[in-house]
């Protein structure tokens, strides 16, 4: 007769393991989060961390390669660009732009998209139809094209870009949140609230909203990467954050001019910065998605 000897038991997860260890056990992506926090730190303390002024260069020191190459100096660790500006400093300040634009745009899109998603899902009827048709159309046009179009109309400035990105990406939130709301609507506690006489707005605010926050957060982390790439793309095309403010995409655009002559550091470093940030956001977002709600795996 089989006994219990073959049954394996769960390792003890008593609190003495500590918070960090507990996170580790659940597969929390420590490195990506550390990278993101590091970038945020750099962005906040850019003034203190950057060795040089990112916007003003010295023409004498143009096109210096990174310090480990011949011709490079430790004064400009990662080299300089065509106007003699220090690459490292521009990278550091560029982090600020990426962080600010990225987070603000994601928040903006998230707030608008979640709100409209809740309204659309809960109220239904013609409101729902209207909002959904609108999102369908805006989704039909690729985000990048739409963003380019808007940027071409309003002209470049950092806050314009934030607004444009928000307008472009709120539709993704709206769709997902609406789906969630539709299924939430059928749940008991919502029915109870209706019977208890709560107004529609109260229900949406106090019952629906807290339950969709999870999805919104997960979507937010996933969108962060997309938004940053779009911002970089817009800057690269010249319609993003305007010079002389350093944006990584803009650095890539400048770097392209001298790519053919082999000035690789102007291309590789900004690109790596973008890659690190987006990669970290994506990994974190993936983990959050699996952890917070397995039902969101379709995202």
């Amino acid at each position: 007769m089989s006994t219990t000897s073959e049954v394996l038991t769960l390792p003890s997860q008593a609190p003495r393991f500590g918070f960090i260890r507990g996170l580790r056990l659940s597969g929390f992506p420590m490195i990506p989060t550390a990278i993101l926090l590091g970038i945020a730190f750099v962005a906040v303390f850019a003034n203190q961390l950057a060795p040089h002024n990112p916007e003003v260069g010295s023409l004498v020191a143009r096109f210096k390669p990174p310090f480990w190459e011949t011709g490079g100096t430790t004064k400009y660790l990662l080299g300089t660009d065509q106007l003699g500006r220090d690459v490292l400093s521009r990278l550091i300040f560029g982090a600020r732009v990426s962080m600010v634009v990225g987070i603000t745009a994601v928040l903006f899109a998230g707030v608008v998209g979640t709100t409209l998603g809740i309204i659309s899902g809960y109220l239904g009827g013609w409101v729902d139809q209207l909002i959904m048709r609108l999102t369908d159309t805006w989704l039909a046009l690729p985000a990048l094209t739409f963003a380019i179009f808007l940027a071409a109309i309003v002209g470049p400035s950092m806050w314009n870009i934030v607004i444009i990105l928000g307008i472009t990406y709120w539709t993704r939130y709206a769709r997902v949140i609406r789906g969630e709301v539709l299924s939430l609507k059928e749940r008991e506690f919502v029915r109870l609230a209706i019977v208890a006489g709560c107004s529609k707005w109260t229900i949406m605010r106090r019952h629906i909203l807290p339950n969709v926050i999870n999805s919104a957060v997960v979507l937010g982390t996933l969108m962060l990467g997309v938004v940053i790439i779009t911002e970089a793309t817009l800057s690269f095309l010249g319609i993003g954050v305007p010079p002389p403010q350093p944006a990584w995409g803009l650095m890539l655009s400048d770097g392209k001019q001298s790519l053919m002559v082999g000035r690789w550091w102007l291309t590789i470093f900004p690109g790596c910065a973008i890659m690190l940030m987006v990669l970290s956001a994506n990994i974190l977002g993936d983990w959050l998605r699996v952890k917070l709600d397995p039902q969101l795996r379709q995202l």
Binding site: M1, S2, T4, E6, V7, L8, L10
Partner: protein, 339 residues
């Protein structure tokens, strides 16, 4: 009637192990069964009792998380557990076949009926497309589907549920297997069609000399179709033997409760009799008898030690301490010897 069983399972156990290896679900636990050629064996149990896993274990088509941890499966004298996957492929569909519960899901929506019915024939017998197509048509006729010539060219979604299940049946017998396992084949059919389908199965069995393992939770079907019965609970066989004897005098309290819970037209009772409690969590089985928590006749020993299979009378066993005449000296039918 040949004496050697067609299929004999000895102390078979199949466990599902979770990805981290932390949770082990004992879906099939120390099961011993046998079936002879031409016989119908019914396997009865609640959802989660392990019946379907048992069927998949016999066919060795288990999901990756499942592991056959012990036991023997002798089919026509060969131990199926010793076979490689390639060798099993030659057995499956050809010498043993299986019918699944949901006919709509079992048929591939993108291929014609003829294609799917003739597929086993093409693979196992190397038949040409034309031969297989003709055989498919004959098979559709054999399962009593009207106008087989047109049906053969159609797609699954164009058929009714009853027809689809017959088609699945046709696929099952297409290569003339010796054993057919039917996993709840009538559960998704309308009541009116069920009887027809069961008659069809019985006729097919007689014509082809099939042994039939009929998995169901419906005791009425068991009464109609089966010679032998095995009752499963929590992955274990708690009672097995000839149907008539089990029905007239069930030895295990669970069987008794099952039979007692069938409402009868002649009843004067006002309440339906249900069995108290919930089926156990197969990952965390109690140390004693799995049914003890819900058993009206349980005593101390039941909760402490899991009972072995004991002979009740000839050809019948039950896994219950009540069936043991003397608590110490037992006539155990099988001594578990994990090889």
């Amino acid at each position: 009637m040949p004496n050697a069983p067609l299929l004999e399972l000895e102390n078979l156990s199949t466990h599902y192990v979770s990805a981290q290896g932390t949770r082990v679900v004992r879906a099939v636990d120390d099961v011993s069964l046998r079936i002879h050629a031409g016989e119908t064996l019914g396997i009865v149990g609640e959802s989660g009792s392990g019946k379907s896993t048992l069927a998949l274990t016999i066919m060795r088509v288990l999901p990756p998380a499942a592991r056959i941890v012990s036991g023997k499966m002798m089919f026509e004298g060969e131990d199926l557990l010793q076979k490689s996957d390639e060798e099993m492929q030659k057995v499956r569909g050809r010498r043993m076949a299986m019918i699944l519960q949901d006919p709509m899901a079992s048929l591939n929506p993108l291929f014609t009926i003829g294609n799917q019915v003739g597929e086993s024939i093409r693979v196992h017998e190397g038949a040409s497309r034309a031969t297989a197509w003709n055989r498919a048509r004959e098979l559709l006729k054999a399962v009593r589907i009207p106008s087989p010539e047109t049906r053969v060219r159609q797609y699954p979604h164009e058929m009714s549920g009853g027809m689809r299940q017959r088609i699945v049946g046709a696929i099952g017998i297409s290569c003339e297997p010796r054993l057919l396992i039917a996993d709840e084949p009538t559960t998704s059919l309308d009541l009116t069609i069920q009887a027809q389908y069961l008659n069809l199965l019985r006729d097919l069995q007689r014509e082809h000399g099939l042994a039939l393992i009929f998995i169901t939770h419906n005791l009425g079907i068991v009464a109609k179709m089966c010679d032998q019965l095995a009752v499963m609970y929590a992955g274990r066989v708690v009672e097995q033997g000839p149907v008539s004897r089990i029905f007239s005098a069930p030895a295990h309290p669970y069987t008794r409760a099952l039979l007692g819970s069938i409402p009868r037209m002649t009843d004067n009772r006002e309440h339906l009799t249900a069995i108290d409690g919930q089926p156990p969590d197969l990952a965390a089985l109690p140390p004693g008898c799995a049914f003890a928590p819900r058993c009206p006749m349980a005593f101390a020993r039941c909760r402490a030690e899991a009972p072995p299979e004991c002979a009740v009378d000839e050809g019948r066993t039950a896994r219950c301490w009540l069936a043991v005449p003397d608590a110490d000296a037992k006539v155990e039918l099988k001594r578990s010897n994990v090889a």
